[in-house]
Symmetry: C2
Subunit: 170 residues, 2 copies
Amino acid sequence: MSRHIAVLVTDMVEEIELTDPVKAYKEAGHTVDIISNEAKKTINGKNGDEIQADRGIDEVNANDYDALLVPGGFSPDLLRINPKNSEFAKTFFQDNKPIFSICHGPQFLVNTDQLKGRELTSFVSVRKDLENAGATVKDEEVIVDGNLVTSRTPDDLPAFNRESLKLLEK
Amino acid sequence: MSRHIAVLVTDMVEEIELTDPVKAYKEAGHTVDIISNEAKKTINGKNGDEIQADRGIDEVNANDYDALLVPGGFSPDLLRINPKNSEFAKTFFQDNKPIFSICHGPQFLVNTDQLKGRELTSFVSVRKDLENAGATVKDEEVIVDGNLVTSRTPDDLPAFNRESLKLLEK
């Protein structure tokens, strides 16, 4: 069954943490919308690549999506400036839909107030914030806790994509 | 009385949040060491400026300094990768020495485990992390809580420097 996946992202994203999972989702027959501050925004990645956004956060409804991807880099920090982004992500927790997040991505998920009691991993620099948000943080290539799939760095992408695709097939 | 001030910083620093306070400290007769991952490191700022480090974190002792500045940008996130940086900063809390931090800077201070019950401000994107660390966060140009001076953005630098210099004169 084809799933419709929201990718929530802005400038300074770690590009490969967006492009590699999106490629895997599309190859498995799923569809993807890249959602950012505004529709048609040109997202300036951390390493100089440009990525075109499909939709703006003001024009999307979480009910139209089956799963959420939050890639890393410094995009997760910048996403926290607009509370609409965390409200959008919070809905996926409340509806128990798959959420995939890698590297600094879980830092953004802190702002949903939904990490208490969850088990996850992330890039090392934001782990203290995840613990302070009530999560249990492990140092493994991928952690699957119910609907939540998390990984640490681009090196973990094969495991991250493998477990994400499994959840999409359920 | 001349004070010796440690500036803890690495790549992606918001340059003006380092250069402007350092200028103010020096004009008031204080001395400054820029401390980074290693001695003589060229720090690559967020806006493309290069800043020369004086000392490496492995060769400094917090006892040799009277105060600490932690500027913002994405440097505070990157400083959290090496626990030696947070151990260094923690000493300033324990010894009740002045600590000045602006924008994303307080994000790094979370890793000292010393923010519980403290009152402070910061850039908007990291406020949830400060609250989760037990701090009370306010939205004001400068907050002075005992030895801790914090501000939100480069626009607050005049107030930030004014209150920092007052503490240095005590």
